[in-house]
Amino acid sequence: MNEKQRVNRKKLNKSLDKLFLILGFSVTLLALGILLTLILDIVQDGWGRLNLDFLTHFPSRKPQEAGILSAWVGTLWIMTLTSVIAFPLGVMAGIYLEEYAPQNRITNLIEINIANLAGVPSIIYGLLGLGLFVRFMHMGRSVISGGATLALLILPMIILSTREALRAVPFSIREAAYAIGATKWQTVRHQVLPSALPGIMTGTILAMSRAIGETAPLIMIGALTYIAFLPAPPLQSQFPFLHLNGLFDPFTVLPIQIFNWVSRPQKGFFEDAAAGIIILLGIAFLMNAVAIFLRTRYQKKIRW
């Protein structure tokens, strides 16, 4: 290679480098542009249908009169049950694996298992819910079957984020607690867990924001696509005021209602679907924003 070739080669490499800078920037911009297009397209389609009636009406055969009352009430039920079941179980499992578990084969097996469960397609959880809760345990195609199924689905995510939050608490905190005579559980309960709580909450909210959009597993366990009544409300005017028979009522949720409208041939229902999506995306993005806010706020506040 003579001097001239070497100089040319160097120039070529430099321009390739520049070229990739432009390529990388435009591809990243393209990906962001697609996200923007998606949101704009949906807002444009559905904005006209968004009004108070849309929130207070049951689904209907006429697109102009259809609403998402049964859908958002169902979503509220499912989300409440899912978090009530999954949060304590997930946090407890996370504490065990991070603070208590000995280095042995059972621990190793549990860890591989959780990593694998996090990657199992959600529709498989639907089959589990159908076989286990609906059929085997005779809980029926009910709110409680749906909540339990989604709880199993997000459990791995909560466990993983709990472990990550616990790992971020410095070891010196634990040593200080032990030094003044605290037992292991006292240390975890009063020192480690409170410091890790913001991280755990962030992970849990993110997991819930995923659960709120889940459609397939709830279709599997038989959530109905057309439903014109609500589960019995938990608070009633008669004694004993708290009634849980609503747990065993059939239900629908927002994403299933959207799916139902998208699958219909009439154009009017597409607008209903888009309006439903605006609300679903709104809730999901809000949850993500809260999670990010929690993370940045407490990252700044706590300095070890």
Partner: protein, 298 residues
């Protein structure tokens, strides 16, 4: 004093036991999935031979003339997954290299979470987008494209998977020690040369793990294909015609009223079993690769 200590010791043991049981729940979940799938699949194979299941070229469990050839469903899954990866791998990797090697710290901290929103959008929303935005758009370019097809949901699925690949690959590249890059720069390499010849090979197992995870997500993805790909099981690689994937079939059966114990009911568990098997192998492979990468650099 001794009484007090022994009482708190009992409490410690109880707490530890309860925590251990919640951790064990994940094992029971897996066992539950496997035993339910095996139980119903066993019932299914009492009526249909495994040989037919694996070799028959038609899937028509709802017809009078019943055929149970899973290949037609897996052809749909394979086709949409292939299209998704053709979209997601180049875009995801270019984004990852750009964010890790070219972008400023500030840009990375803003762009990465925004990209990750793409993975947080509910999949039924992507189904809407594929059916009512992407398909009509593609039909202007390809007049032969059917209203339901593999191409449009495949592309949209690829868009959904971009952040899985870009974020996880970027994490892997970011973890490559700075000293390796500095060595190459000292020899006069450009950023592109450093990225392609030093960072990419060093982060390869982490990047491969992200690709496998992306493939596994594509295979298990349900709502996009259920909305936009059609319901016609077909042994084809033509992306322009309606097809049906394994997951979309399971949804189709669940939407109808199929009583437990019937052959239609059992088909969803048999197909689900195949799906679980494939994604299980991919997930384990991805886990091992990721672990190997962590051992190398931490």
């Amino acid at each position: 004093m001794i009484l007090l200590r022994s009482r708190s010791l009992v409490r410690e043991k109880c707490v530890e036991g309860a925590l251990f049981l919640s951790a064990l729940l994940s094992i029971f979940t897996t066992l539950g999935i496997i035993s339910i799938l095996i139980f119903e699949t066993y019932e299914f194979f009492k009526k249909v031979s495994i040989f037919d299941f694996l070799t028959d070229r038609q899937w028509t469990p709802m017809f009078v003339d019943k055929h149970f050839g899973i290949l037609s469903l897996f052809a749909g899954t394979f086709l949409t997954t292939l299209i998704a990866m053709v979209v997601a791998i180049p875009i995801g990797l270019i984004c990852a290299v750009f964010l890790s090697e070219y972008a400023s710290n500030r840009m990375r901290t803003y762009v990465k979470p925004i990209l990750e929103i793409l993975a947080a959008v509910p999949t039924v929303v992507y189904g809407y987008f594929a059916l009512l935005f992407v398909t009509p758009l593609l039909q202007k370019l390809i007049p032969d494209l059917a209203g339901f097809n593999a191409l449009s949901p495949g592309i949209v699925m690829g868009i959904m998977i971009i952040p899985i690949i870009s974020s996880l690959s970027e994490d892997a590249m970011h973890a490559v020690p700075m000293s390796l890059r500095e060595g190459a720069y000292a020899l006069g390499a450009t950023r592109l040369q450093v990225a392609l010849r030093v960072v990419l090979p060093a982060a390869l197992s982490g990047i491969t793990a992200s690709l496998i995870l992306g493939i596994s997500r594509a295979i298990g993805e349900t709502m996009i294909v259920a909305v936009a790909a059609g319901q016609q099981p077909r042994l084809t690689l033509n992306p322009l015609v309606p097809i049906e994937t394994v997951t979309a079939y399971i949804v189709q059966v669940s939407l109808g009223d199929t009583p437990a114990g019937t052959i239609e009911y059992q088909t969803i568990f048999a197909t689900g079993m195949s799906l679980f098997g494939v994604t299980f192998l991919l997930n384990i492979l991805s886990y091992k690769l990721k672990k190997k990468f962590r051992e190398a650099y931490e």
